[in-house]
Subunit: 683 residues, 2 copies
């Protein structure tokens, strides 16, 4: 690589990043110099440690400790599964909210975990050594084995140490540019303390999702318990500043952005544009229609559908805006030019051209891979249990490093937690999703595909779904645990039709996964590592890696933006919530908020916008000021933030937070949760 | 324009057309010389007249006369609405089929018409004269007024002539390159004679739609009646050749291809790719899900949904393949190059750049135009009646040439036919579609759009739909006719909530339509006419115009194609139908066909493929041989035919026909319709 090129690129990229407040920085490479230079603020190692150790990763979101007794602040929508799992026909916690007035009333969230990142270890050299001089397929397999081995050793070492067992997870940063072991302290007993009604937490529902101005009290409180069943002691935690920030204030988001694709090559982006996103959107939109129509059958049908439907609608909005972003030929052209500056020499045989060939291969196997292995053909909770049991029995019989990665030893406790969780399974809803996905399996693979012939030569999608759901005993966690412990023999003896279905497709599903790993994943990994080296040689860690649902820190300021020439103010206030209400969901203000209206200050700040660079997974992240106090709770981005999956739009990409004032007001005046306010110690 | 350029382009385009058997030719410019040159066959004016006058245009399809007593052959799916309209809770004609054993049993298709093209008149000069020296908006309006005036004069003249009244419709060919008046003899009393069960007509259902090999008896027989209620005398009609064609035989399709977009510019194609198709597909896929879930509630729900669902699924398949086609950057690049050969001089101010600017404008108004004016926000049969009544009352008070075109005098008989037709309206199904479309109206225009605030500030989409549907009397044709005749006063006195809904949105809907006409339609028309002149000067009628649901003739041969290296044979046979059956819809063979299996020749040809260039609207077209006999009935294309909307793929685009042998066998042996076989005089 030419040095001049590198320097030009470095200059351009760094200038761009500096202008933009863009970047999801790791804690080990946080650009304290840049913050000092732009804002004159000194970020110390102690500050970073305090913030990191007060930040929590949930299974699906970010959160933070807000008291010394394990109290956790996150979004309402991050606790939605827990609320649904603890609801019944007679009592919908999603609809009505929940407040535990005593510790004993705190409700277990059976599939939730709370992780704190306590250590980070660079293992790039280990991986490089293990894969040196291997061909692509062998390197891909060796890489996985090595990471499994590193995780295993890390966990074994932690169990022997005095400080208690850790959860060790490998992380691939910069698409193979760096490998890290991230070490977490895990709490697997997480309980629900407080949640407001869905009507105020998600006021405006799907129509307002990703919109701003907004009025959403998207908060909930959970509590981590230790292994002995007592509230966790969490000396590292955040204080909350009730006053919140002013426009222009420097603020930080600490959290776990789930996934960005800013380092994808043009041919990878085109695969998303042409294949992945359109096909996903077609399926998801139809499923949305089925959910909505199903939910109209009864109040109970609406209740059991709500959580799934909200998640789906959120994902539809994200993916349709991502498709819009990829239809912007000017942005693709910018990507092409950026690639061109890096691609010197023989562009027919460089890693970018390797990826072009891989993407052609991926187009050929995308459908069977998506439907058979990735589950698009078998959308059913019971089926997912069945596949886990069937594969788990096979995989656990193998040495740790030879298994499918999701069954490596370090992953098993989480698998077991989910199998034994007493969460409701609704056969009617299962019938909706499974018959739907089998119909689409037949449509997209075609009626003459061997698997379709195998499954549907006498059955229709409806009858196959009905038969397997009705005959399966896997809704019972005791049965699942027994089959998990019993292994292959117990599975064979069970004659459970859902397990038999999972087994019937397993050979084909594994075969297409193997093809995917060999023909797509392995050459992609090899080419991406080559590109990472080119970029890394030029840029090092002066730029940030794509999001990977690992801990990141970013900085920005409180600010609105300009939409079609009109400025959007950064703060909303309580009065406008009432103005905007229609009395009909999702624009109905819950009764308690109507009753208390006259006692509340109409000028209470409600939601606000910042230019922090966040993405799904950051939900529930603490927004903190330079002193390390919480000044907001991130819960969404504006509509322009969605294309942030591919590139950060400085002018318009905004993150949205719940203001501490409305959270505190709600707890004090609307819900009468005085003990909690006291525990939070809000000032 | 440079002459050398023209000649090069002519040579290239003609060479391409000649190689491809591509082309939807008008009868007035059919390339007999090309057919003579390629196939050594002389097509005479008499042959063309005979074929044209034996071809029938239905409201939604093509058909043909097949006896001297008005008997009409078309597809089953072209008669699906008629079958649904004549069905009831106790008897589904779609499911069970129908056979009138006597003339008196023939069932009126209340919304169907049968048109025969009896005259064609070039009026290009009239339009040019009327629009000369006007600016774009004025020219657009003058053009419409002129066409309405020409139609009116033509119809008045026909009523005064001895040969009976004609329906006169203006046609825009080559996007403003030619204007014609097409003159039709219309039969508005069309009755159902025969239809097989949906299970055999559409064997394989949506999964097999646009697939080949196929086994679909997609036929039905209708009959045109004259004004006195007697079967029409139709001396011009086709004979049917039972033996059908051989592979390689020269064959012709006479019919009404609905719409192609082969002359669109790149920026128009990008609008379709980025805006139109993705948004339509999102809405349609969700509606599909709602229909399917709704239809599972009961047999009756399934019955009343079936026709809508089939049409929707067909359209989804078409539009998703069109989107795939536009994601093929290589084909867009070819379009760009073709444009570049025509674009000489100042490309920043030529008609192609005009269209680029128009498409930017269209992006800004596409959503309100689609939802408010094009009906995406009000998907309800009752609403469509209401809008027709409300607008009809306003428009008919104006002079003919000042009205919205759909209310010009020549269009009113068809409007009235539909208003007075006694077709069932199903409130439950209305609730599905109207609440769905109101929800999406709110989602896409946003909760704060003035129309959304107006309609949904106290109502939810569900409650608004329920209230307007329950309160409306427009399901009753007598009420509709009375309100149509009563005009504005009657409408005001009716206090029908659906009419009030239509009126509540009408000012905004008309306003956005006006903006669309002025900011999109007018400049587009002006630019397209300029491009048409450039093309027309070079090519004249040596190339064919885009499809416009007007009569076209094309030629091709019976042939299969090669799919992923494997040849697909052009004919299928009866035996494989039985092999492929699963016993479950849509792969269940109807009982009659199971019972008669042993009496039928397993080698009977069933469906076959040709390389004729057809598209939706050609359904039901007669496939004819050089002697002018029917040798097949077009009903579909293969999956590659869908991109034919944008460009003809010589290698893979194939049309699919029902073979005369299976049609005759079915009538004779399965349905015992001996009288019909006799009337058809099949040889």
């Amino acid at each position: 690589m030419h040095k001049t090129l590198c320097l030009a690129l470095v200059a351009w990229l760094i200038a761009f990043a500096a202008r933009a407040d863009e970047g999801m920085w790791t804690y080990h490479d946080f650009p304290t110099g840049l913050v000092q230079q732009k804002y004159g603020v000194q970020i110390t190692p102690a500050w970073l440690d305090k913030v990191r150790l007060s930040t929590v990763r949930l299974s699906n979101c970010t959160a933070s400790f807000v008291s010394g007794e394990g109290l956790i602040l996150t979004n309402h929508h991050c606790a939605a599964s827990c609320l649904a799992q603890n609801s019944s026909k007679d009592q919908s916690l999603l609809e009505n909210g929940y407040l535990a007035r005593k510790r004993e009333q705190e409700l277990r969230c059976p599939t939730q975990v709370a992780d704190v990142l306590v250590g980070m270890e660079d293992v790039t050299a280990h991986v490089a050594q293990a894969t040196a001089n291997l061909d692509e397929k062998a390197a891909n397999e060796a890489r996985k084995r090595t990471l499994t081995q590193l995780e295993q050793s890390c966990e074994e070492a932690s169990r022997k140490s005095g400080s208690g067992p850790l959860q060790c997870e490998s992380v691939d940063l910069y698409k193979g540019g760096q490998y890290y072991l991230y070490k977490y302290k895990r709490y697997d007993d997480v309980r629900l303390v407080f949640a407001p009604e869905d009507g105020i937490a998600a006021f405006g529902g799907d129509p307002d999702n990703f919109q701003f101005p907004r009025w959403c009290l998207d908060m909930s409180l959970l509590r981590a318990y230790d292994a002995s069943g007592k509230p966790a002691r969490t000396p590292m935690h955040f204080a909350i500043d009730r006053a919140g920030p002013k426009a222009g204030d420097l603020v930080f988001v600490s959290g776990h952005p789930g996934s960005t694709e800013r380092l994808l090559t043009v041919s990878e982006l085109l695969f998303a544009r042409d294949v992945q996103l359109p096909q996903w959107l077609l399926r998801a939109s139809e499923l949305r229609g089925r959910y909505i129509q199903f939910s109209k059958a009864s109040t109970e049908a609406a209740r059991i559908t709500q959580d799934n439907l909200s998640s789906l609608e959120n994902a539809i909005k994200v993916n349709r805006k991502l498709l819009d972003a990829l239809h912007d030929d000017a942005l693709l052209e910018r990507k092409r030019k950026e690639e061109a500056t890096l691609r010197k020499g023989d562009t027919a045989h460089d890693p970018w051209s390797d990826i072009e060939r891989v993407e052609q291969a991926e187009r050929n196997i995308a459908l069977p891979y998506t439907f058979l292995e990735r589950g698009a053909g078998f959308n059913s909770q019971l089926f997912r249990y069945a596949r886990t049991l069937a594969r788990g029995a096979e995989e656990r019989a193998k040495p740790n490093t030879d298994r499918l990665r999701e069954f490596r030893d370090s992953a098993l406790p989480r698998v077991e937690q989910q199998l034994k969780a007493g969460v409701p399974v609704y056969p009617d809803l299962e019938q909706v999703t499974l018959s739907f996905s089998l119909e689409r399996l037949r449509e997209w693979l075609g009626p003459d595909h061997p698997i379709v012939r195998k499954l549907l030569s006498n059955d229709s999608p409806d009858t196959l779904a009905a038969r397997t759901i009705a005959g399966s005993k896997l809704a019972d966690p005791k049965v699942r645990v027994q089959l998990w412990q019993g292994g292959k023999d117990a599975l064979g003896a069970a004659h459970d039709p859902m397990i038999e279905l999972a087994q019937a497709v397993d050979a084909e599903a594994r075969a297409i996964r193997k093809r995917y790993e060999d023909e797509v994943e392995a050459p992609l990994q090899a080419a991406e590592e080559k590109i990472a080296k080119v970029r890394f040689a030029a840029l090092g860690t002066s730029v940030y890696p794509d999001a990977t649902f690992t801990l990141r820190l970013n900085f920005g300021t409180v600010q609105g933006w300009t939409e079609n020439g009109t400025p959007v103010q950064p703060f909303t206030h309580l009065d406008k919530l009432y103005d905007r209400a229609t009395g009909q969901a999702p624009f109905a203000v819950p009764q308690r908020w109507q009753q208390e209206k006259s006692r509340l200050d109409p000028n209470t700040p409600f939601n606000f916008a910042t230019n922090n660079d966040i993405v799904g997974g950051n939900s529930g992240s603490p927004l903190i000021d330079t002193r390390g106090r919480i000044v907001g709770l991130m819960f969404d981005g504006n509509i322009h933030s969605i294309s942030g999956g591919y590139w950060f739009d400085t002018e318009k990409n905004r993150a949205i937070a719940v203001h501490p004032a409305i959270m505190t007001t709600a707890l004090e005046k609307v819900y009468g949760a005085k003990e909690l306010v006291k525990e939070l110690g809000v000032k």
